[in-house]
């Protein structure tokens, strides 16, 4: 009987320790509660490791040339640097700029137009899109099931060697959820561990006055949809959110992106039309097109002197999180894939 109690206590302690150890995902101090429901998909090291392998494996694409990381590279805040519109198999080109991936547990809608209603469901779109990975979900499952690597990893993560759509998506979510960026200079300043330079400080004040309503701290976005006054590209004819809701009031509305790691996530806007932060700020001060659906927040013009533009830029650069950009736990899982090759 005594042994039983000791065993039970040991068990409880061990599982508590495990749960603590498992939290590759974490909620930074003073951040809001995540919207992702972790109860139906609790993150575990095995699940996140599987998700990471899948994220970096071109096996998800029809001709094994494109992985998630092709358009979401860690060193550029998990977006596709140098490409305004993202690329897919056979050099095909999509219609939108791939978004930077970070702090996804705090977002409930995905894609520039919010077409996707849950992080789990996001990966279905690029995997099946003919201009991205061009593969069917059943074919992906068959390939993974037949591989030497994956059935064991699925068993470790979900208790079964059977590769299902549910587990594929949940594993990818588990990895993506771990991509938390909250270690920038801005974060240190907020925690009183560092100080802004006078220029950054002035930039921060200007930011709060002019940008904060949409790019709300600490996530630097409300993740809502707005028309930010970009003239529609007459080649792409992309009207954003309206395609999803079929509501004319949503014409030209796009998801407000986070500004975290903006230094590394160029080009900017849904169609990647701007290469430099300078151009983005110029758009807000002098490029706004007044149409019916223009965001309320932009009805009064943003006025900035050229010095103020420089100061805001200095502040935006404090949102760079090098620990995130170079965290080896988010990188290509070299060891795992090398093992596979050696076999």
């Amino acid at each position: 009987m005594k042994y039983g109690i000791i065993l039970i206590i040991a068990g409880v302690l061990l599982s508590a320790f495990q749960a603590f150890r498992n939290s590759a995902f974490y909620i930074p101090e003073n951040w809001p509660k995540p919207v992702y429901n972790f109860q139906v998909n609790p993150t575990t090291p095995a699940g996140a490791e599987l998700g990471r392998a899948l994220f970096y494996d071109p096996i998800l694409s029809r001709d094994s040339t494109i992985s998630c990381a092709s358009c979401h590279s860690q060193y550029t805040a998990f977006t596709h640097v140098d490409h305004a519109l993202s690329h897919g198999i056979g050099d095909s080109i999509g219609t939108r700029n791939s978004p930077a991936l970070m702090n996804l547990a705090w977002q409930s809608k995905f894609m520039w137009d919010g077409a996707i209603n849950h992080l789990d469901m996001q990966a279905l779109a690029p995997i099946t899109h003919p201009d991205e990975m061009g593969e069917s979900i059943p074919a992906v499952l068959t390939k993974l099931q037949r591989s030497e690597l994956y059935p064991a990893m699925f068993r470790k993560a979900f208790g079964s060697r059977e590769v299902t759509g549910e587990y594929l998506l949940k594993a990818l979510s588990q990895f993506m959820l771990t991509l938390v960026s909250a270690e920038s200079k801005y974060d240190s300043v907020m925690r009183n561990q560092a100080e802004f330079t006078p220029q950054e400080k002035n930039g921060y004040q200007l930011f709060r006055k002019n940008c904060e309503k949409c790019h709300k701290e600490p996530l630097f976005s409300t993740f809502e949809f707005r028309n930010n006054g970009l003239p529609a590209d007459t080649f792409l004819n992309d009207y954003g959110r309206m395609k999803i809701t079929q509501n004319p009031e949503d014409s030209l509305l796009f998801k407000i992106p986070t500004l975290r790691n903006i230094e590394y996530s160029a080009p900017y806007m849904h169609d990647g039309r701007y290469k430099k932060i300078k151009e983005v700020l110029r758009h807000y001060t002098s490029g706004i097109e007044h149409s019916q659906t223009l965001a309320e927040e932009l009805q009064t013009p943003v006025v900035l002197t050229s010095n103020e533009t420089v100061d805001i830029t200095a502040f935006l650069l404090t949102l760079t999180d090098k620990k995130f950009l170079f965290n080896p736990e988010f990188s290509f899982p070299q060891k795992l894939f090398l093992q596979k090759i050696k076999k």
């Binding site: 998909n41 077409a115 209603n117 789990d120 059943p138 299902t164 549910e166 998506l169 809701t245």
Partner: protein, 232 residues
Amino acid sequence: MRMILFLYCIFLTAIVSPLHAQEAFTLAFHPFFQGEPLENDRFYVTEKGDSVMPETFKIYLSGFEVKGENPGFYYKETESYHLLDLENPASFQFPLRGIPEGLQSGVLHFQLGIDSLTNVSGAMGGALDPSKGMYWTWQSGYINLKLEGISPSNKTRNHEFQFHLGGYLSPFNAVQSVDLPFSGQKTLDVGIDLSVFFRNIELKTQKSIMSPCKDAVYLSGEAAKMFYILNP
């Protein structure tokens, strides 16, 4: 220690016994076209006069409930999601587990399609696994009904028609409720008459729906009328 074992046994009995106490009540769905059993590779004529050969027919039925006429009789299936697929005839028949005894007559209630809460709850398994070909990939949401086939009336390539009906967001929420009164059976046979679906479709002009929209909601309403109790 003995006490624990004893409690454990009681606990086990409590779990297992309900499964034994009740006999399963089976639902069997039967696809028809104007009263004739639906067969593969066969053309049927719609009320509008179009020849059609249905090739794919997949449909989500969910939220099964039985309201009995005997007072207080009520049953609700847990995890109630079923994908009926013409390619997998076994999927057309399933038991309603744990239904209380003494059911004579009542109303069978279910939904054609997947409710909005499930639609926004992330990746699911079993019948709801997104690899079943009943989930839109470019825009989140379950396809409630997939009906594809051939009709010479279609001027499209290969004369194909494709109806993918779904949508969970207002104003294009396409989920439909179906209520069917029945009496006195252990196996409840439910007919699905596909001709009802085609009653108001002009295949010459309307040959495909692939996203949530007004027509998808309308046709989902028509699809809900396909269900009827055989030999009530």
